[in-house]
Symmetry: C2
Amino acid sequence: MKKVFIYDTTLRDGTQAEGVSVSVEDKLRITEKLDDFGIHYIEGGWPGSNPKDDEYFKKVKNLRLKNAKIAAFGSTRRAYLRVEDDPLIQNLIKAETPVITIFGKAWDMHVTEALKTTLENNLEMVYDTVRYLKAHTDEVVFIGEHFFDGYKSNPDYAYAVMKTAQEAGADFLVLADTNGGTLPIEIESIIKQVKEKGLDGKLGIHAHNDSDTAVWNSITAVLNGAVQVHGTINGFGERCGNANLCSIIPNLSLKLGYETIPEESIRRLKELSNFVADIVNLPVPKNMPFVGDSAFAHKGGVHASAVLKNPKLYEHINPELVGNRRKILVSDLAGKSNIIYKARELGIEIDEKDPRITELVQEIKRLENYGYHYEAAEASLELLIRKHLGMLKKYFDLDAYRVLIARRYTDKEPVSEATVRIKIDNHYEHTASLGYGPVNALDRALKKALVEIYPSLSEVELIDYKVRIINESAGTAAKIRVLVESKDRERKWGTVGVSDNVIEASWQAVVDSFIYKLVKDGV
Amino acid sequence: MKKVFIYDTTLRDGTQAEGVSVSVEDKLRITEKLDDFGIHYIEGGWPGSNPKDDEYFKKVKNLRLKNAKIAAFGSTRRAYLRVEDDPLIQNLIKAETPVITIFGKAWDMHVTEALKTTLENNLEMVYDTVRYLKAHTDEVVFIGEHFFDGYKSNPDYAYAVMKTAQEAGADFLVLADTNGGTLPIEIESIIKQVKEKGLDGKLGIHAHNDSDTAVWNSITAVLNGAVQVHGTINGFGERCGNANLCSIIPNLSLKLGYETIPEESIRRLKELSNFVADIVNLPVPKNMPFVGDSAFAHKGGVHASAVLKNPKLYEHINPELVGNRRKILVSDLAGKSNIIYKARELGIEIDEKDPRITELVQEIKRLENYGYHYEAAEASLELLIRKHLGMLKKYFDLDAYRVLIARRYTDKEPVSEATVRIKIDNHYEHTASLGYGPVNALDRALKKALVEIYPSLSEVELIDYKVRIINESAGTAAKIRVLVESKDRERKWGTVGVSDNVIEASWQAVVDSFIYKLVKDGV
């Protein structure tokens, strides 16, 4: 099996995505995870560019990595300095990584207009820097920046840049589509040409997704001999992102016979995707191929029953091969078979001919139309099904709640206070709590009111809280869906609430969360 | 120039995306917009499958379309019925569209296991249905469902299905990658083979994005002779979506020399993307190629100044060619040049050497670290810059606000009441308002307090309200960012607020919105 090295730049190129900011701790945790998954190269950052990256390179030396080699990233030396005198180059060496990756200009226009130097000098910069770094580290990866645009502008020069890097001792010669505008046919044609011209080293590909073809650009390069693929987890990065490793790895290994990361790791790909997404706080779109929550979600009523009978007819791969799972959506196109499947999944046996199923289907359609989405709130769905089948105890009743948020100009932050009055059997609990905000106050007040009668509720922790405006065009009068994720020592579960009022929607989701806990504990 | 017909299935296949539900009015508005843009075929729905679709086909006949032909979608006749007796086929004819599109099984396994009929009978179903429909409408589009998987399983049979459709008179023979698992090299190879075998009609391609290659799958088909491309606007659809027309059209027309929709329409592509996204309420991811808000957003400090000097060096196409614009992001990688550029964009002249710029850069970094994001809240950014440069009047001061949300078990919904006390010069306005929820109540109360002194505020409408939890893992104690979009008769603007407390965050965004209005009105 042909082997392809996976080179992850999530921590460097990926962090240039809009809205992304990662701490040193975050970067180290991601490094450990990537290493655990068998990623071959982890580009950790740009030493000397900011204090966080310097701290990262100091601390990463203490990690016991089993698979990955850490790469420090930088550029060729300054045009007017000798390589030994360039502090940026010294920074790269000081990072003491087994791999140093540098990019050099491969597009003549960039050399003259951006660097403001001569084409000849740029070649010397490439040669000097690669040679010097090769003497100070195990592996040097050279990236020809804007390579494909450069080749189209001046093929001989672009080739010369890469060949110079090769002659200086670079271990990998990476061709970058920096602006992301190159199409697969051009990638193929250009790679064939440079190989024919004599670039016979180990080639790599660094693609961006501006033309929506980064994945196939990368794979095309591999099919034409490249052995190192650059990308990020979930494909995030500047503008339209980097090449998405979560699509490239399964395509290469499950469909095209290449060895990338170990098969056991590919079987946990969704876990890696979610992990990185959580840490950088950039959620994975549900419809992301392979690893998205809905990548294997069958909606149309027709499909759902057919899929259950013979998954191969409807799924391009078995979802478990990438750690994902088949989803039968309970939606307004859902039929009875979807509900029965879902109930059984939740451990509730229900007879196919039970007339309550049809009512349940209607009820769910009605609620979904109102705005409830159960896809990420299976606990609320289970409670709904149980309630409908008469399988849900009444643990408590709401008597009243009140939330007050008040700020005087002398206060930096408002005060939030929630009061809750609950009826349990024939007796009332009436208490209050402060909080960081109205929902936090409500959550605490409700728990306070219930925990004496139901002590296990103290184990519930609300860990994730998402607010979605359902019909945004109604402005501040829009309907709101709140999704809450909770956990205890054993499990996690999602609940939902919908209302015009964000407090009421949050209340519903929090109440469902506590009730679900009581149901699961068999209280 | 070679012409490719764009076949839009946003209203049929697209609506199978999770979370999408469109009304008949919505579908008609999208139809008109697609027609306005020069889309050639609009697949409107599946007559007889649900009342909405039937109503659509009745009403669409009243639209004066200039470019597009409406297609009704359905399947080949039932295995056991004659085509004249099949009510589903009659539904197709009753829709009275100039184009009827039907799909037929092209994968032998589907014929035997899903349809439970013989391979021979399936061919008859294809022949009968196409022939019959061709006698009742102008054009018949035949889609070979699961064609590529079918060809890999039984090439002769898959070919026979398409050839049969051709012989029966189908105008287009569309090859569908229904499970989305086919890769571009396979698309190319298979199309070449079927053409060699003798399929010489007008070919089409219908791709799905499960392998993250739908765009290049579609373009590969075109490069190999297909003349009709199926897809959806923004690529939404079941699972991982359909082929994204917003990527396919610019790639084909701006890079590969094919004629698709008129050039003037391509120059408004982002507008079409936003329009559809708004109507179906599925936002366009910022990083979507070509049409995403961040598709041309330059973040790294280095890049920003270089881009401004010579955009061609950093952008694969001129953003205006697709109706998009270059964005210089003000972020924690921002430098002085970004701020100066942004200030000038906002009409504020500022000298490059002004020391306040450095302070402003620090202040913005501090705020961005805290959670403020100005990318979608340029009005708040403008106010910040003005304030920092001493160019912002003090219109009013907050004395206090208070929001009360209360629900008794007898109420279906809570009551939300906001009280606001504002100081304007030396005099106080103190008033209250009810609202749909706490933020709506605050918005109304604040407007009520201000509108006598500042009557133009009555023109402000808050049209969009987004809540983002910044650090979701802190559960209900997370920091919250609120983005508000407002408009008056002339313009739209975005403002932001950040706090632990959703009410306080909303307050900030709403206050900024009103102040921005006053600034723009020169009050």
